[in-house]
Amino acid sequence: MNGFTLKLRAVLAALVICLGAATLDVSTAVAQSAQPAAPAAAHEEVLFRYLQTQGSGNLVGRVSIPDHKAATLIQPGGREFQETWRGPMKWIAAVAIIGMIVLVGIFYAVKGPIRTTSGYAGRLIKRFRGIDVFAHWLTAVSFVVLAITGLNITFGRYLLLPLIGAEAFTSWSEAAKVAHNFMGFPFTLGVLLMFVLFLKDNIFDKTDLRWFAQGGGMIGHAHPPARKFNGGQKIVYWATVFGGGALAVTGFILMFPFQIVTSIDGMQLALQLHGIIAFLMIALIIGHIYLGSIGMEGAFRAMWSGKVDLNWAKEHHPLWVEEIMNPTRKDSSLPAGAKGAGAD
């Protein structure tokens, strides 16, 4: 059979050369003079090799049905999508998310919660307005729902399906898919709100350089000074703005398939980017949740009540305390209810 095949290929190759005068135009690409010439016959193998040198490598023709997607006869990229989905996507997710959990675990075991060393002053100062708290929790709650339902799409088949069975897993996944699609809207609104509300306090400046140089005080017991937000918080802010923004854009592309992005390659890319960015964001937010809850004493109330203890603020954000306590200082905005330092 093999020898037979080879002989046939030789015959065919000769034929292709003989038919060389005929020109062939593959509708995906017009042959450019610099590129390899379009093959001289509609032979599957020849076309395939030619297409590998052209753009997307898809073989597109004409169909008599109105669905434009049906005109793509073969898109070999589907196989690459399959391999990416099966390999790199899952590895990126596993390494990023499990890695962060392990890191947080080690940090907690070695260092434990970061305490307010001077003890609580018992006096609260306002750190966030109501709208700030609302924007944060709008984003946070929708993000957690999106993360769980999104991870279900990637890992549920391996982790949850064997436990609860195919029917139950389908019911859950169907509901999860709907939740994922609808939670995208509050999430997008939350990211937009936070972008606007927290922008002015999240511009990187010289203070952040010092903060980063000292490792944010996470190693040892130093407390590098910070204004309203320290360098790490600014990273979380910008990652949320850009990462969350990218998740929103790719998410809407996926929610309206072939309507915003019309090519299959574009849809595949949107899905892969959506997944990878989401995995990295989930890892980052696990770290953020840790530091905002059990990782740091007195931090959670900031986003819960909007108020923080004065000593906590002095230890973690001394420059910010100075700014709000001394309204004569340049660039300081006096929050409602805050009094000048002299009023103490």
Partner: protein, 198 residues
């Protein structure tokens, strides 16, 4: 056991679309869904060829690999089928499919594509063979009756071949050697990671 495959001899296909019509009629496929279609390459130019394409029932099927709910399965005959009871209509199989086979009853706004539908190789679905429930969801189960897919069976020029992969590859190889030319087994490289004579 046979390893069922499709092979379209593009040098014989006359783009009559009878396979498309036969498929729609046999399985009562709803409007807007095309389990099989004919694509014309180089339309109106020298070297024009038409190829009838449907689900190729791939080896190591990409759709099955990316399905979040694992609703695909491969039969002993190598036919790739899926369960509409388990499908959540996420659309991932369409992104992975090299042949554009998965079809959805709705457009897909807010993820409401409905249950995926595709060529079953006339082999029905997970329900008991030739039951009304199976017919309603997946169409006829000709394989259970000892028949091959209707599209290939009624192809007037016998361009579309269905059956055991080795046998249809041999038939095609014989044709190519007899007539002296052939344009290859379209999609075989991608679907079966395998080439056929010609």
């Amino acid at each position: 056991m046979a390893r069922m495959k499709f092979l379209c001899d593009a040098d014989r296909c006359i783009e009559c679309n009878a396979c498309v019509t036969a498929c729609k009629n046999e399985h009562e496929v709803p409007w807007g869904i095309n389990r099989r279609r004919v694509v014309t390459i180089n339309d109106g130019k020298p070297g024009e060829r038409s190829i009838s394409m449907a689900c190729m029932h791939c080896t190591d099927a990409p759709c099955a690999a990316v399905c979040p709910v694992d609703c695909f399965y491969t039969t002993a005959d190598g036919v790739v089928l899926h369960s509409k009871d388990l499908c959540i209509g996420c659309g991932y199989c369409f992104y992975a499919c090299p042949f554009g086979a998965p079809q959805y009853p709705r457009l897909g706004n807010f993820g409401s594509r409905g249950k995926m539908d595709k060529c079953t190789y006339c082999a029905g679905g997970p329900e008991a063979d030739n039951t009304p429930a199976e017919y309603a969801k997946y169409g006829a189960n000709r394989l259970a009756e000892g028949k091959l897919p209707l599209c290939a069976e009624m192809c007037s020029t016998k361009a579309l071949l269905a059956g055991d992969g080795d046998i249809i590859a041999q038939i095609y190889a014989e044709r190519v050697s007899t007539r002296g030319y052939g344009s290859g087994a379209w999609g075989w490289r991608t679907a079966y990671k395998d080439m056929v004579a010609g």
